[in-house]
């Protein structure tokens, strides 16, 4: 099909512009930092950051994997719990009025403040870091899913009522598919937030033995003035967030492309 041919190279159009922007900005930073002679412990040049990556790529990869594990667990929990909570909240107005204000807690609580409590309750380690990632990322899933569940076409609700559909088939066959575009939007936001949550969690709630996550790398490198390593870890964290976002986008594309305007 002619359409397929034109699509074969269309991904280049999506990839090249951001890569181009990255290269240009990196070069500009390099030049500017050298010309102004900025001290490396204030802001390292990109070339220093890249050599920090090359110095110990295995360590950086191990740190990234560790943070990724916590972020993924937190993100997965947010996806499941967020959708489940939204389903509960959507059931009646009374339940919504009673509980919805408390879900905002997840959005407003400073995770740095709650992390020491998590250490007391669950001990330092992956579980506490994952809970931090969860706390930071669950609210957008709840809020977006709820908006989707509540916006079901009234005529379709009538149709399901007319044909005597029970609450379960209404949920599976109407309300959840209807909310799917909103759920994907919520997950898109949660993907990035879960990485932030994991890194902040690692500042406080990581165990001291074993591999260090990106949060620990950032905290200790900053303490020793190794800003090049700080930036290398930030770069790795950004790539991790981007990867998770791409995964969510792929799921969104595959599930919505046939019927939703956002993916056509």
């Amino acid at each position: 099909m002619p359409r397929a041919r034109s699509n074969r190279w269309s991904w280049l159009g999506a990839v090249l512009p951001p890569v181009f922007v990255f290269v240009v900005l990196t070069l500009a930073a390099e030049v500017w930092l050298r010309v102004r002679d900025v001290k490396p412990f204030i802001v390292p040049t990109p070339s220093r950051v890249f050599s920090a990556v090359r110095e110990a790529p295995g360590d950086l990869l191990a740190s990234t994997c560790k943070t990724a594990a916590a972020a993924l667990i937190g993100f997965g929990a947010s996806a499941l719990a967020g959708v489940a909570v939204a389903i509960g909240l959507s059931s009646t107005r009374l339940i919504r009025n009673a509980f919805y204000p408390y879900t905002v807690f997840f959005q407003t609580v400073p995770v740095v403040a709650i992390a020491p409590m998590l250490v007391i309750w669950f001990e330092a380690g992956l579980q506490s870091v994952a809970i931090c990632a969860f706390i930071v990322s669950v609210f957008p899933v709840i809020a977006n899913t709820l908006a989707g569940l509540l916006s079901t076409d009234p005529a379709l609700r009538d149709l399901f009522k007319l044909y005597g559909a029970g609450p379960l088939s209404r949920l599976w066959k109407l309300r959840l598919p209807w909310a799917l575009p909103n759920i994907i939007t919520g997950l898109r936001i949660a993907a990035g937030l879960s990485v932030i949550g994991a890194i902040v969690g690692e500042f406080v709630a990581t165990e001291l033995s074993g591999n260090a996550g990106l949060g620990v790398v950032i905290a200790t490198s900053a303490r020793y003035g190794r800003t090049d390593r700080v930036f290398a870890a930030i770069l790795a964290a950004s790539l991790l967030g981007l990867l998770m976002l791409c995964a969510v986008n792929l799921v969104g594309y595959l599930s919505l492309r046939r019927w939703h305007a956002s993916e056509q």
Binding site: A155, L159, W259
Partner: protein, 277 residues
Amino acid sequence: MTTVASQPQAGVSLELRGIARRFESTGVVAIESLDLDVPAGQFLAIIGPSGCGKSTLLRVIAGLDRANAGELRIQQPTPQRTSEAGPSGPGYYAPTPRVRTAYVFQDAHLLPWRTVLKNVSLPLELAGAARADRERAARDALNQVGLSDAIERYPAQLSGGMRMRVSLARALVTDPKLLLLDEPFAALDEITRQQLDDQLRRLWRERGMTVIFVTHSIGEATFLADRAIVFSRRPARIVLDHMLDLPAERTMALRADPAFARQTGLLFQALQRGGAC
């Protein structure tokens, strides 16, 4: 009376006594006290100004909305002795009456994530029919509306007229005894609309179900129906209850006939009396 002789039991009869519906929150009285009898197998058109309570009445009949007062009886004309009809009742259409009532909205309102075939088989799926049965019934229904070559497409890939046909097929798939249509073709262009009117009239002639068709188009009501009722402005009151004096076999050419014009003229005058224009 123009009930179809070959299938006298295909439709239900309706008896409405003192139906009233007011909306507490807004204080709007949509229907004050309405009496109406619809014999089995009749094609009834309800015309009236917009916001006059036509749709409310249709929703009450469908069971989607509840009347504040009055009685609504939906009856099978002859007692059914099949097991489905339940205990040998006096002919009341008691068992799952909703399954045999179909409703067509002003827009198609399809599930966008389902193919045409899956959309049409939805009512049977919700009723718990086996997959093979419901897909066969859905194919039949799609055949009848002339859409058998679009079954694997998604609603977003269809034109407005095709979507409305899918909606009509979805309504027909349960073999309804009562078909309620709420200004179903109002959003379509005139040619598509006339084609669908023609198709609907033929389907009704074949199946003989009872049809209540709400519209604000006098021409459409005249072309389609046996009987036309003209509503006044809110609260709805019947200004005219008129048996249309036209042949049972109707073609597009009828719209140009002087007899057709006489009928539309009568309905138009009634609409004016009811305060529509």
